[in-house]
Each structure stands twice: as structure tokens, then as C-alpha cells.
């Protein structure tokens, strides 16, 4: 590995595997460890959705599908809720895919040059991290649509699978919590993506 900023290197299978593995581990960490209590009833928000929004914004929909689905499913396995792991994989994987697709579609529709997302590495070959343009902030409308899409997909899958497992009355009680998770995801995940992009510019070469 002579030059870590080379787009050729980023397209090697080893690099992709390393990226996916690390992002999965980060998603599992954010889900399993980082929790903020929000109510005296010991209710809490986990940060799994923050990591999913981050991955969808920086790395694109398909990376977000894999890392969101597998990372949160692993968190279920290690926290003793393995019965939810297959459904979590579907719910959070498709949530990441939906957010990434909406953000990507929004970027394509706008006329400004694409600055990050999948396929960027080829386009920015030869530019150094320091001279690359700063990231274009996703518009409020795109974020709102991504939030709505992600919430409907994630909440919908949990509601349907929860309905089969524990009945729709009990599954409906989980819906506000799922919406709150997504609110935290978009409110923290978006600034996180922008802050990481600003603080660590070489990240733009890590996408494919």
C-alpha cells in the first residue's frame, strides 16, 4: 500500500471488506454500548440509527444496507435478543438502503456537482484531500424525505414482524420509540457525517 489516497487501492476487495467490517463493528458499538436515557422509566435511545444515517450519507445505500443490517443484528445477538436478529437485519438494512437511495436521488436531481457518495473515488482521482471541495450539505427536503422513508421502512417492518410475534397491539406500543430512534438518527447522524468529513478529509477516498 504505497498511497492510501489512490482510487485503485480503494477498489480492491480487501479494502472493501475492511471498510464493511469496521463499519459493521461501529454500528454494533453504537447500538450496543452508546445509549442515552430519555425517561425515568429507564427508556433509552441507542445510537445504531446514527451510524446508519452516517453510513448512508457518506458511503451510499448498499454499504448502509449491509452495515446497518448486520451491525444491528450483531448487537441483538450479543445483547441477548437473538430472536429479533433476523427481523432487525431486514428492518435496519432496508432502512439504510432507503435513506441512501433517497439521498443519492436527491444529489442526482440537484444540478451541483456530486462531491461524495458511491463512485466518487474514480471521479476525484488525482486530487488531494486538501484541495477537494468541502461536502455539499444534503438539503433539508432530502433529509426530511430520507427520514420519512427510513422511518416508514424500519417502523413498518418492526410493526409487521412484531405483530406476528407479539400481536399488533403490543407492536403498536413500540412505534413511538422507533420514530424517536429515527429522529435521533437524522439529528445526530447528519452533523456527524459533516463533522467527520470536515475533520478527516481523506474519508472521501474511502467510498466506492
Amino acid at each position: 500500500m504505497k498511497n492510501t489516497n489512490s482510487s485503485q487501492y480503494m477498489n480492491l476487495p480487501a479494502f472493501r471488506i475492511a471498510t464493511l467490517a469496521i463499519l459493521i463493528a461501529v454500528t454494533a458499538l453504537f447500538t450496543y454500548i452508546i445509549r442515552i436515557p430519555v425517561a425515568p422509566t429507564r427508556g433509552y435511545i441507542n445510537f445504531g440509527d446514527v451510524s446508519i444515517y452516517f453510513t448512508a450519507l457518506i458511503f451510499g445505500p448498499f454499504t448502509a444496507f449491509i452495515t446497518g443490517g448486520v451491525g444491528t443484528a450483531i448487537a441483538d445477538l450479543i445483547s441477548g435478543y437473538s430472536q429479533w436478529a433476523p427481523f432487525t437485519f431486514l428492518a435496519h438494512g432496508l432502512q439504510g438502503l432507503m435513506i441512501g437511495l433517497v439521498v443519492r436521488a436527491g444529489r442526482r436531481l440537484s444540478r451541483a456537482p456530486k462531491d461524495h457518495g458511491e463512485g466518487t473515488a474514480e471521479k476525484i482521482t488525482g486530487t488531494s484531500a486538501e484541495t477537494s471541495p468541502p461536502p455539499r450539505r444534503p438539503g433539508i427536503l432530502i433529509l426530511l424525505l430520507a427520514f420519512l422513508g427510513g422511518t416508514i421502512v424500519m417502523g413498518g417492518i418492526y410493526f409487521l414482524t412484531g405483530g406476528v410475534m407479539v400481536g399488533f397491539a403490543a407492536a403498536a406500543a413500540e412505534v413511538p420509540g422507533n420514530i424517536l430512534q429515527n429522529v435521533a438518527g437524522v439529528l445526530v447522524g447528519t452533523p456527524l457525517a459533516l463533522a467527520v468529513w470536515k475533520a478527516y478529509p481523506p474519508i472521501r477516498f474511502y467510498t466506492w
Partner: protein, 257 residues
């Protein structure tokens, strides 16, 4: 690797091939999910807890229930009002009725969820993640996907340690927590955000070295794979396959008899 529900042991379930256990788990879960009645689900659930008691211990029967009892309570309270058929057992002010049909539906859901939770518990209690991934490989999971999951499991403890270190460093640079003031989630979010940025950057920075390590170990040079601890050939575990088939047949018979 990080700890999961797995506990090493020498029970017959620990010695059973993970592919057979995984097949039975999937079949067992489907049997719990397909529409049936309370007596059938009760027999399935009794079968599950008997298996746990025989293979592990009686105390282990209650371990999976500890984590799900609030949901079970919720099911018991919320399900009956939506099923108004049959005899009315009691009523609160005309808006909450506990009827025969409601109670039956609640019991069915409780048995289903407890059964599925116990089945997953006994599988992961007796199967290590390595064995589970090998079983998935046998069922067709691509090599690269298995490698990604294995590496992710390996990295989680490292990242947890990284998170704790960064959290400690940030705490040292912050004024002490305000005692006596009301808990404020927004302030908590504001405190945690710089930690998340640092954790994310440190994690992403480790990607090149990890990919370099993979390449140095010859990743991608050949499609020929060798496995350090392969699963035994299926013909060597014929007896276990036979036992697995008997379990599957028993589940089908219970459903139809």
C-alpha cells in the same frame, strides 16, 4: 471475540452439529409462527423448555424469560380488548373487557414469543459464533460475507475499548457534572457528539491497516480456500441427522394430531 449467549459445555446439544441445530431452529421458529392453537403452542413450548432443562439446567429455562417479561405483560394487557368474542370474564367501565377469545389470543402470542425466544436462546447458548458462521457457510453464505462478519466480531471489543478511552479523555477535559441539576438529554447529546466524531474518525483510520493486513495474508490471491477447523462431513454425523429428522417429524405430528 466479544461474549455472546454461548457458554461452553459438554451437553448433547453442544456436541450436536451446528448445521442440524440451525435447520431445526428455523423449522421450530416456523412451527411457532404459523397459525395454530393454544394446546399446540403449549406442546411446542413444553418441548422447548424440556430440551433446555435436559441439555443445560432447569434454572436456564428462566434466563430467556427474564429479558422478555415486560413485553409479555404488555401482550397480556393490550391484546384482550381487541378480541371481544366468547364469555366475558371481567369488565372495567365498559371499555376494557377480558373475554374468552381475548385471553386465548393473548396466551397464544405469549407462548409463541416465549417459545421463539427460548429456541433462539438454546441455539446460541450451545453454539459458538464460529460454529454458527461455519454452518451459515455450509448453507451457502459467501466466503467474503463470512469473513466480514468474523472480522466485525473481532473488532467490536477493540472499538468498545477505544470508545471508553475517548470518553475518559473527553470527561477529563470537561467541567465536572453538575450535581443536583435536572437531567437534560439535550446536554447529554451535546456532550456525546465530540466523542462520536472521535470514535468514527479513529475507526475509519484503521481501515487501511486492516486491509493491508488482509492483503499481506494473501487475501484475494486464490479462490481455493482451506478451513482451519472445518465441520465434519455430514455422513459422519448420520445419527444426529436421524435425530434431527425425528424432531422435525414430531413437530409436524403435533401440529396435525
Amino acid at each position: 471475540m466479544i461474549g455472546t449467549a454461548f457458554r461452553p459445555g459438554a451437553s448433547f446439544l453442544h456436541r450436536t452439529d451446528p448445521r442440524i441445530k440451525f435447520f431445526i431452529l428455523v423449522f421450530w421458529t416456523i412451527a411457532f409462527i404459523i397459525p395454530s392453537s393454544v394446546p399446540i403452542l403449549l406442546r411446542y413450548y413444553l418441548g422447548t423448555i424440556l430440551l433446555i432443562a435436559a441439555a443445560l439446567s432447569v434454572r436456564e429455562v428462566f434466563v430467556p424469560l427474564k429479558s422478555i417479561w415486560p413485553i409479555l405483560l404488555l401482550v397480556l394487557l393490550l391484546t384482550p380488548p381487541f378480541h371481544a368474542g366468547g364469555e366475558i370474564f371481567f369488565e372495567i367501565g365498559g371499555w376494557y373487557q377480558l373475554t374468552e377469545e381475548g385471553l386465548e389470543e393473548a396466551l397464544m402470542l405469549i407462548l409463541r414469543f416465549s417459545g421463539i425466544t427460548s429456541a433462539f436462546f438454546i441455539f446460541f447458548r450451545s453454539t459458538s459464533i464460529d460454529q454458527f458462521i461455519l454452518a451459515l457457510r455450509w448453507y451457502g453464505l459467501p466466503y467474503n460475507a463470512a469473513l466480514i462478519i468474523t472480522i466485525a466480531f473481532r473488532y467490536i471489543p477493540t472499538l468498545i475499548q477505544l470508545y471508553r478511552n475517548i470518553q475518559d479523555a473527553h470527561t477529563l477535559r470537561r467541567p465536572p457534572l453538575e450535581d443536583g441539576r435536572r437531567y437534560n438529554p439535550v446536554r447529554r447529546f451535546a456532550h456525546i457528539f465530540p466523542i462520536l466524531v472521535s470514535v468514527m474518525i479513529h475507526s475509519i483510520k484503521s481501515i487501511p491497516s486492516l486491509s493491508m493486513a488482509l492483503e499481506n495474508r494473501g487475501f484475494g490471491h486464490s479462490r481455493e480456500r482451506t478451513i482451519y477447523r472445518p465441520l465434519p462431513k455430514l455422513r459422519t454425523v448420520r445419527l444426529q441427522c436421524g435425530a434431527g429428522l425425528i424432531v422435525v417429524l414430531a413437530v409436524i405430528l403435533i401440529y396435525f394430531l
